[in-house]
């Protein structure tokens, strides 16, 4: 079986209030030197496939159609054997 681990992040330059809140939180508990925090999403998708090329094609399509909104988000993924 193959597993796709998809990461979806807000595009660079788009303000991420959640990241800002986490950043403030880290500073408030004493972590200094944090430059920036951005919060994204990770999706773990198990596929009943063995062919990596096929899996890649499918995950690309999933990201384009639903998992990421290209207006505000970018995505990346890794495919591993499980």
């Amino acid at each position: 079986m193959l597993r796709a681990i998809v990461t979806v992040m807000l595009k660079k330059g788009i303000f991420d209030p959640q990241g800002r809140a986490v950043h403030n939180g880290l500073e408030s508990i004493g972590f200094e030197g944090v430059k920036q925090v951005r919060v994204g999403k990770q999706l773990e998708i198990d596929l009943n496939l063995t062919d990596r090329a096929e899996a890649k094609k499918m995950v690309d399509e999933m990201c384009d159609k639903m998992l990421a909104n290209p207006v505000v988000e970018s995505f990346s993924y890794e495919i591993t054997e499980v």
């Binding site: 807000l10 303000f15 209030p17 999403k41 639903m66 998992l67 909104n69 207006v71 505000v72």
Partner: protein, 233 residues
């Protein structure tokens, strides 16, 4: 004129929209089920607010792929009037029927309050009952209402008069202080280039019936009705 209110799993403002058309406008209205692709002979479609598909992934991300939305898109491409309110606006941006996206509120809080809006463009099928510069009160209730689009898109929309409503003070002043959610240029509602698809975060259906204490939202539905009557006469 026949109106349709789209029902998605998790819509929670559908009955208010139905009431606005049925009781306030006195027009025939029915629900459109999300799995149906046959919309019948509707003249206008309302995509109501709520939490379609639990807002999972992103608000509207799953809803905009529902079978009925394919038909709503085709209806809009033929010039049919479509208005998406709150979650409906998010669904319309997800489906690319409207530009931009709705991000999480800048203050990270769910906002639920009466909101003053300034009417920007009254030369549309959705706003003709107002005067440009009118200030109306419409409730907002959202967590992701922070309107975002690329700078070029915003510039184009502003130049084309596609911004219909802005968050303002009661005297119509628009500034950062009157921006509840971080939306670019205080944008609360927009229209597409063709002038037949509108998305707005505030809820005109919650301020359409004077028995609720607010009635300025009624203008949106009356404008739509007058437009439909004019083009069908």
């Amino acid at each position: 004129m026949n109106w349709g209110v789209l029902l998605l799993p998790g819509s929670n403002c559908a009955e208010d929209c139905f009431h606005a058309v049925d009781q306030v406008l006195g027009q025939p209205v029915r629900y459109l089920w999300h799995k149906d692709t046959d919309l019948g002979d509707v003249d206008a479609i309302i995509i109501p607010g709520g939490f379609s598909y639990g807002d999972h992934l992103r608000p509207g991300a799953i809803a905009h792929l529902s079978p009925a939305m394919t038909s709503v898109k085709a209806f809009a491409e033929k010039g049919g009037l479509v208005i998406g309110i709150c979650n409906g606006f998010q669904i319309l941006t997800e489906s690319r029927m409207l530009p931009g996206a709705l991000l999480q509120n800048k203050g990270l809080k769910f906002l639920c309050q009466d909101q003053t809006l300034r009417v920007e463009n009254n030369s549309t099928a959705f706003t003709s009952e107002y005067e440009a510069g009118d200030v109306i009160i419409c409730p907002i209730a959202h967590n992701e209402g922070n309107y975002y689009a690329k700078a070029e898109t915003i510039e184009e929309m502003e130049a084309n008069g596609q911004v219909l409503f802005r968050y303002s003070s009661p005297d119509g002043e628009v500034s950062d202080a009157t921006n509840p959610n971080g939306s670019i240029n205080n944008i609360a509602g927009i229209i597409n280039r063709n002038g037949n698809v509108v998305g707005m975060m505030p809820h005109p259906e919650r301020s359409a019936d004077s028995v609720l204490g607010l009635s300025a939202g009624k203008g949106v539905f009356v404008s739509m009705l007058k437009h439909l009557e004019a083009v069908n006469s």
